[in-house]
Amino acid sequence: MEIIKIGKIKKTYIVGDVKVHALRKVDLTVKKGEFVSVMGSSGSGKSTLMNLIGCLDTPTSGTYILDGEKIDELKKPQLSDIRNQKIGFVFQGFNLLPRTNALENVELPLLYDRRGRVKDPSEKAKQALDRVGLLDRMDHEPTQLSGGQQQRVALARALVNEPSIILADEPTGNLDSRTSIEMMKILQELNSQGITILLVTHEEDIACYSSRIVRLRDGIKIEDKVLTEIRSAAKDLEEMGAIPVELNGNGYSTEV
């Protein structure tokens, strides 16, 4: 089943008098359960693609179908609802609300959910925090958490509304290499549970933990390959003589 189906998508910015072609007719299809890395140097158009897939921006031309919904025809409020219900964001800079504890940060998407599906947002948020192993830190504010912990809170926030896809924009960009691998381990675990992940990164070391790599240059897709051999972040951590990240709940363990 296809989660993302992009056809001949184009995005042109006008900066002053100059037209900047950020994306020139890119096609991309992502199936359910894939773990895709979008790679490229800065200016390659990967951030633009990310914003389009994340429904934060609309394409100049082309089609975009997300989980069966035609996105290119939607208006702003509907785009908000799509972001809320179908997409979970993880940003480079974590982007947690300051002076707001972990639990309230994770609850936030549920409070904006117009479907009113979740009767007890707090309970649901606790479950999500449990999935990333931070239930014991739910009262902590972002400043009281380490970078890795903050990013896990952000991941819990992305998970809480059971989205169709998780979009991670350079999620390891602000983390040291060890914490980065820990983060990738959690993402791999979630992916093994059937969650579709789209990761934007420029680090080869990070992309190698995914199952497919899409490479962009100057707004054109230049490579799209499925990895036959996927590195295991858990194994790497073990080799580093790691103090394993403690995960609990939902049948998670440190071994995958």
């Binding site: 914003n51 994340g54 934060l56 921006d57 702003k76 409020p77 908000s80 609802d81 972001r83 809320n84 219900q85 964001f89 940003f91 982007n95 947690l96 609300l97 300051p98 002076r99 707001t100 936030l108 998407p109 409070l111 904006y112 959910d113 926030r157 509304n161």
Partner: protein, 404 residues
Amino acid sequence: MKIKNLLKVAYKSIIKNRMRSFLTMLGIIIGVGAVIALVAIGQGTSEEVESQISSLGSNLIMVMPGSSHFGGVSRGAGSINSLTLKDVDKLKKESTYIREASAYVRASGQVIAVGKNWSTSINGVDPNYLIIKDWELEKGNFFTKREIRSRAKVAVLGKTVSDELFEDSDPVGQSIRIRNIPFKVIGVLDAKGSSMMGDQDDVILVPTSTALYRMTEGKNISMIMISAVSNDVMEEAQEEIETILRKSHNLKDEEASNFRLRSQTEIIDRVSSVTGALTVLLGAIAAVSLLVGGIGIMNIMLVSVTERTKEIGIRLAIGARGKDVLVQFLIEAVLLSLVGGIIGIIFGVLLANGASYFMNMSIVLNPFISLMAFSFSGAVGVFFGFYPARKAAAMDPIEALRYE
């Protein structure tokens, strides 16, 4: 988002910037406080003035001589002495709406008593004058019809005069000299206090006839003081007086009356319209400060929106609609102004009570004004909060997320 969560977010953001929130609210606090205090003082003053006028007498109607014209030149009020004792008699006899009527002869002069002297107004009045003026005697007696007939040289002193001439000793039975005529003091009036007409107690009352024939030319009286039967028939009474006096003065239909009527209600109406305008003016000045407070709120909300651009970006990214953000900031602005409004009401009530306590002003606290000022402060919040809130709602999530 549910209202509970919105209020929580707004509360948090207000608490987070305690000092700034307080200073923002200060504009509203002063505005609402000023409206409440000033209107309370305005209404209090107006009620006090009205009660002072009422203290002049009960259902009082005054008849004064009119003005005369001489070759096109108007000579002003009282320039013809048209009123006589005959008029008073006629009014008493013919009128149905009049309870009491008293002639009033105004004179003035130096009063001397046991080595002291005092200049005051000497008024010749009838025995029923105290009833008309709603006045009591402190001690002694008032003069009677017999003393009027005999033009007796008796006097009743106002409290001020009594204090000036006799200090602590009892003036009743003592002798005073008014314009070198010896008078016997037979009573002292109760203190009535001062009004805007001046000190009502600085007066000496003598019989009409005595004043008229011994102190003036003996022809005309200065005024007629009338007490109507009740407050409801004031207008009928005035019409009747007019008719009777015109007949008594043999005026033809086309001739203007040579006397004027003033009723207490008329004076109260006129004074209330002035004090009413004053209250409105005070209220309006205060409302302007409320408006300035609103601009303060808008200013701070704009700063707050810019400062929280990133937060807005995060909220939009995870699925808040523009409307959610709009409502969030609007609620924050309204909360600021309403809390300011509540503190303002308390402040205003304290201020009004302070004015009443320390400056001896009379106040009337009107709950309706408080409610109005409170709702107005809420409206100020909505009005001045809307522009910043809309600015927040219209943000581009990508730009907002990039903001540092």
